[in-house]
Symmetry: D2
Subunit: 144 residues, 4 copies
């Protein structure tokens, strides 16, 4: 299992749940995006910063979710992000949605992002970004 | 009763409803915005177009909703927009949320928008915009 | 290409778009759900009705989207639903998100639903439901 | 100024912001609801619990927001809930949306909820609930 890059706790509220009393199928996508953006923001990796540092930014190529256990109103959950794989011009991060009280995995999501240059063409994933995605903090310190 | 400026039909789906099986309190705000934007778009009144025509655009100052009857999953509703009032530098539009099968009013919302100039300072509501908001199509034709 | 089972037109509004001025990655999931539910509702296939007719209802197993072209504010789009595949106890529907003015495909999504019995265990997809999913209206008429 | 009953910190992400790069006008309603529900949940005041304790639950009567300063992507905000007023059969809570780094108030929202009995008729706000809403913890301890 790879390192957890970012984690976000949240409680399911009325906004997340549907008339069946369970989580709405698209609700986790919002939490995945918040978790990813917190990592981006705290790491100085916003699109503006990526362009300034490496001349590339990222665009979403694909997203998805598998649902294992239906979460219900007021469930306390965590969204935990980790690296799945890095390709030449893209990378995929995984989001484990876990119920905190018993660590049961409710769902598993992913986002695949492509790194593109200023012209919008796919460009190699910068080495420093790859290091950060691998969560190898020692290497990161050296790189920075 | 003033003229209906724009109307949008929609059916409540799982995304709009909560575990009580009724509409989530914030769901109508999304439909109000879509209805307003359809009026803006079809009338050539996007922020870019307003700046080009009159040197002003609009910013949201306030919004609100009163709830009369709780709508339920699969209800077929209409969101109907009409003018409430025009002030010196702002205007308010009202949104009647109506159940189509029996014309029962489920909720009533509003948005107050301020017209601001390129510096972001409140500016007079342009006369042509006021005419369009009043839904007086004859006057509009003369103005245009 | 299989038959289009349901189609829904919509225009991207502020609610759907992000600070980059393009569609928010999760926005299409809402439109996929609305399109699916319109098919469910108009065909008499709500969970209550499915339980009454066949003793089964459906639960979401997976969802996903691939993004091809970034749609922008005020784009007029269609979400078109068609069958992908029917398995023993599940089926997958595809949603083609198309820009109406030039029929360019912006994205392609899917939902996989499992049919479960009253105890929540996977159950065979009812033959009539399979017929409806295949969009074979002649067979449907015979079946009904 | 009355006591803060509940506070929630969040960072504006792509999901909350629109193509103008500022917060979408309806985004704060979601955070208001989460803040309110956290207070409800942590205080043992869910609808089920209120019915069991006092024979009443709450339904939303009105909501609204005034916008003072447009928040932008990645702003770190707090949503702070406090009592506005308690009537015979309803109460109103206020939500101050504040930018954490400089305590500037970006917006101010409210929710008015009606207490209804098992038949759905307006019923007096229970004394204990009023005490909790006033945030008077000493009285609460006595009451409990």
């Amino acid at each position: 299992m790879t390192n957890t890059l970012q984690s976000m706790d949240f409680r399911l509220s009325y906004a997340d749940c549907d008339p069946l009393g369970i989580v709405f199928y698209a609700a986790y996508y919002g939490w995945m995006e918040r978790t990813y953006n917190e990592w981006v923001f705290s790491g100085g990796l916003t699109n503006d910063e990526c362009i300034a540092r490496w001349g590339v930014n990222t665009v979403m190529r694909a997203s998805g979710l598998e649902y294992f256990v239906p979460a219900v109103l007021f469930d306390g959950l965590s969204c935990r992000m980790r690296l799945d794989a890095i390709g030449n011009t893209s990378f995929t991060v995984i989001f484990d949605i876990v119920r905190r009280k018993d660590e049961v995995q409710m769902a598993k999501g992913f986002m695949t992002l492509v790194t593109v240059n200023r012209s919008g063409r796919p460009a190699e994933v910068p080495g420093e970004l790859a290091t950060l995605l691998r969560g190898d903090s020692r290497a990161t310190e050296i790189a920075v």
